[in-house]
Symmetry: C2
Subunit: 161 residues, 2 copies
DNA sequence: CTCGCTCATGTTATAAGATAACATGTCCGG
DNA sequence: CCGGACATGTTATCTTATAACATGAGCGAG
């Protein structure tokens, strides 16, 4: 991650994802501004879920005046578009690995996280059986599902040994 | 809910559940102290998830010195034993309707909440298909699941119309 | 009986997460 | 040139949660 006059620069893979996100935004008539781009880049660069205030600390390297609303507004934008998800148990944010696939319309989807309590890493999955089971359970209760999250805590393969 | 010298008194149904909880605790060698009993009673008396600070406000009616740790410690105790669950999305707590059935060992279970964004009510379910799908997905990733929560947001039958 | 342990609670302070409310600036179309 | 939409800046505050240390009750071993 380098600092230039345009703001932060990220690894090539992440730059590619940022480009893609920028394209998706402009197709929707919105803008991935430099600020939003930086926040998304920071989230994607973290190998663990990252908290809003940790993002803020990073942001302040380039933006002296950054304050909580700065980062929360950017996160709101990114979450609305599915580029970023919040892991509720951790009050922290992760980049969506498949943001490009289901732009903006994954409501009703049951996003799933495998949260390792030892190493802190989180893997996002999209298991169809879970999605279907959740949808059916909701329907059985006469519940109109808008969105759902599944947060599974335990030990990842590496940590479980 | 009445106030007596022994602390709060709840409705007969809730008193019955408190008695049962007290019995389960003593079987485990722990104690449902008056404080814990009051907190559990307050959670069970709420028809919606209730926040820690709302509980604190109620507690202070009978316990002048109550402070955040007072309520958080009681909640920790109750959660460890499965009498109470936290709805992560709401930072609020609900009583477990089936606390008596699976005392203390429901780890690995995927607790499920149907959260109505309109009326704020939360229904807890234990859908076997979801539990199984979650367990299988975790296994497929070599993940040793300890616990899981499924939080489904949308409109309940009454609110969806 | 009394020392020392464990458990529960009290007490004070602070950390961590999130939002409200209002101000500023930029771009663009009429 | 004005006015509206949008993005960000700025200040203050609110909500949620925990750290750290103090007090006190109950109980078993010596």
């Amino acid at each position: 991650m380098a600092v230039s006059e345009q703001g932060l620069t990220f690894s090539p893979e992440i730059e590619a994802r940022l480009e893609k996100a920028a394209r998706l935004c402009s197709e929707q008539g919105t803008t991935l501004t430099p600020l939003r781009r930086e926040v998304l880049g920071l989230v994607l660069s973290s190998d663990q879920p990252i908290g809003a205030y940790a993002l803020l600390d990073h942001l302040r390297r380039t933006r002296a005046g950054a304050a909580p609303p700065t980062v929360y507004r950017a996160l709101d934008f990114l979450r609305e578009r599915g580029f970023v998800h919040k892991v509720e148990r951790l009050n922290a944010f992760v980049g969506c690995p498949s943001a490009a696939d289901h732009v903006g319309h994954d409501h009703g989807h049951a996003v799933q996280f495998l949260i390792c309590t030892r190493c802190g890493r989180v893997t996002e999955t999209e298991d169809e059986a879970i999605i279907a089971a959740v949808a059916q359970a909701a329907e059985r209760h006469g519940f109109r599902q808008m969105r759902a999250t599944v947060e599974i805590e335990g030990l990842c393969r590496a940590c479980a040994g």
